[in-house]
């Protein structure tokens, strides 16, 4: 779960990492007030999109009137599809140099990775490999002060900046570890008046570890529908096609989208109904698909732990209570397959046994519905 910049900065501050003075702004009046208390400010849209500055999400204000006007222009604006509700006003910095530092999990090495560079201020993916210092952390040892000094030394830093940087590596690793972060990044890590300041920050938290951080501000960047399905407890992603999809298991759900595309159709969503979902949640998920008003619905089930008769019962329940007004294609294979197929057949729904046939049929019906 990504955190907004102001939340990330709050975490940095709590661990003693210097950040610019700043405050949240959600009305034009607060924009003016921010300049009154902070002096000239940068007003930064609090949205979770990359390339925020280029898209017009960071603007400056010298006077209170400008603070009012800029805040008024920015609040409610659309930034790459996201509505801006809040700004974060920060003292404008006189930046001398821009560095980069992050701690993340390297999936292949299966351990934490510290990355640092003198080429800050741009996305790290755009920095040449030979300009990035990479240092893997042994999780059984952790990051001791020497580790920070080694990274600072590898970057060629000297004097005050060397000391501050080395110290910052230790603190950043503590945030990564203690907050259960997937990524904590400071970019740019600015040099202002000869000292390091975190000019921008990213903090992505591990959803699976939220239970041990009850104070976390929950940020769901999804659409209204995505948030609704997440509340049922299912994995759901909205796509831009017209064939609604439900499958059991993340891999199967992905493969089902691929199959629709393979036959020339466009999937409307990703929905993993779970590896062993029972009638209730399956019916709830199906209700969501119906509410999307797709041109067709494809249900693709390989019953292992999931029972085909449960899935059939869920389909019949939805058909009876809220109705399924669009073509429905069901593929049912596996545990209790015969019972499930029979249930559907009695209700006039033909079940397929081959995934390819079912996907092709769903695409055909969606096209006929045009």
């Amino acid at each position: 779960m990504k955190q907004y910049e102001y939340l990330a900065k709050g975490a940095l501050k709590a661990y003693g990492i210097p950040i610019p003075a700043g405050q949240l702004v959600s009305t034009p009046e607060e924009g003016a007030q921010a300049v009154a208390s902070l002096g000239p400010v940068a007003l930064k849209a609090q949205v979770l999109v990359g390339g925020r500055g280029k898209a017009g999400g960071i603007r400056f204000a010298q006077t209170q009137q400008e603070g009012y006007d800029v805040a008024k222009a920015m609040i409610g604006m659309d930034l790459k599809g996201y509505r801006v509700d809040r700004l974060y006003a920060e003292t404008k910095l006189a930046i001398e140099r821009e560095l980069y530092i992050s701690v993340t999990t390297d999936r292949n090495a299966k351990r934490p990775l510290v990355m640092a560079s003198l080429a800050g201020g741009v996305e790290i993916e755009d920095v040449a490999d030979d300009q990035i210092v990479k240092a893997y952390v042994d999780p059984e040892v952790g990051v001791l002060p020497y580790f920070g000094r080694e990274v600072a030394s590898a970057l060629g830093l000297e004097g005050t900046i060397f000391k501050e940087f080395a110290d910052l590596v230790v603190k950043l690793y503590r945030i990564y570890r203690e907050k259960d972060a997937e990524l904590v990044e400071i970019n740019p890590l600015a040099v202002v008046d000869g000292h390091l300041v975190a000019a921008d920050a990213r903090l992505n938290l591990d959803d699976s570890a939220l239970y041990r951080h009850p104070d976390t501000t929950i940020v769901d960047e999804g659409s209204a529908l995505e948030r609704k399905v997440h509340e049922i407890g299912l994995a759901y992603v909205e796509l831009d096609g017209d064939i609604a999809v439900m499958a059991n298991g993340a891999g199967m759900a992905m493969a089902t989208l691929d199959a629709i595309q393979y036959f020339g159709g466009r999937p409307a969503n990703f929905l993993d109904a779970g590896g062993g979902a029972s009638v209730g949640p399956t019916a709830e998920a199906l209700d969501v698909l119906v509410s999307m008003k797709p041109k067709a619905i494809l249900v693709n089930i390989f019953g292992g732990i999931t029972r085909c008769d449960d899935v059939a019962a869920a389909i019949l329940q939805v058909k009876k209570t809220s109705g399924i007004p669009v073509p429905l294609v069901v593929r049912l294979v596996g545990t209790n397959e015969q019972e499930g197929v029979a249930l559907l057949k009695a209700a006039g729904i033909e079940a397929y046994s081959e995934m390819a046939e079912a996907a092709e049929q769903a695409v055909r019906l969606a096209k006929e519905a045009l």
């Binding site: 292949n108 299966k110 570890a209 041990r212 994995a235 993340a250 989208l257």
Partner: protein
């Protein structure tokens, strides 16, 4: 023959008194797995499905000589369970739970490496060796048959789909291994492929991958060392960037983890990459020597 697990493996079930633990103990016994004990603190002395329950792994290992453990405890307790198994001499730990914090998985995997323990998962369906009639996992028993095809997958149901299509095409499996859908898991494609390389019963390997990370790219070069033909199928062609597709690990982040990059790497090192799951069996048939 098989990899990692065979009919002599003596298995304990951590979390045997929970619904999942109990149900899958029954399924594993029905398949032929040698389940010798279960763990459930304060419930020692009971029997579940005829299997003795112990309070601690230490007691279970002492009493039964167990060398493998399958973990069903809830995610917040999974790290503790894994360490209890590893510190008591268990050599193979299969971690079923989903939603284990990544920092916990990092610790588990680091400790396993230090002790030489094989960890499968987390967030896996487990491992099954049809030729040995044994399994540690939650996969349905009836979709597999014994044969020469090794399967290594990141996803559960998708691997069922493919294993079943192989079985229906009369192409049996030596061992099917689920690496798990999490960002940090015990195995890599390479570690599993190394086992398949050394297994005389495996003559061909199917890799079932998906978007996210670079496990497939890392493995590609190893295919030349493997010396056995590989069919690869990867899911997630239609997935948009930046969205987590169900599995915590299935996400294209900052341009990394795309299907194109993975398929290109695998093809470059000799794998036959198919685009749809139902094309796997035919591709495998084309690679096996005709009898």
């Amino acid at each position: 023959m098989s990899i990692l697990l065979n009919r002599d493996s003596r298995i304990i079930v951590q979390g045997i008194t929970g619904n999942q633990g109990r149900f899958h103990t029954r399924q594993m016994l029905a398949y032929g797995s040698q389940v010798v004990g279960g763990i459930s603190p304060t419930k020692g002395g009971q029997q579940i499905e005829g299997v003795p329950v112990f309070d601690t792994v230490h007691e279970a290992v002492t009493a039964t000589g167990a060398d493998a453990s399958i973990v069903f405890v809830p995610a917040p307790f999974a790290k503790d369970a894994a360490f209890e198994a590893m510190e008591n001499g268990i050599r193979l730990v299969v971690m079923i739970p989903e939603h284990i914090p990544v920092q916990d998985s990092i610790d588990i995997v680091a400790r396993a490496k230090a002790l030489g323990v094989t960890v499968i998962g987390p967030n896996t369906f487990g491992i099954i060796s049809p030729g040995e009639q044994t399994k540690m996992g939650i996969m349905p028993n009836h979709i597999y048959r014994s044969g020469p095809v090794g399967v290594v997958a990141r996803s559960g149901t998708l691997s069922y789909e493919i294993a079943f299509s192989l079985t229906n095409a009369n192409l049996g499996q030596s061992t099917v291994v689920g690496m798990g859908g999490d960002p940090v898991v015990g195995q890599t494609f390479i570690t599993v492929l190394e086992h398949f390389r050394n297994d005389p019963a495996t003559t061909c390997v199917v890799m079932v991958g998906e978007i996210g990370g670079s496990a497939e790219e890392e493995a590609a070069e190893y295919l030349e060392t493997l010396g056995k033909p590989v069919v690869a199928y990867l899911a997630g062609r239609a997935a948009p960037a930046g969205k987590r597709m169900g599995h915590a690990g299935a996400i294209i982040e900052r341009g990394k983890g795309t299907l194109e990059s993975k398929e290109k790497a695998l093809r470059a090192h000799g794998a036959e990459v198919v685009t749809m799951p139902w094309q796997v069996a035919e591709a495998v048939r084309g690679m096996l020597p005709s009898k």
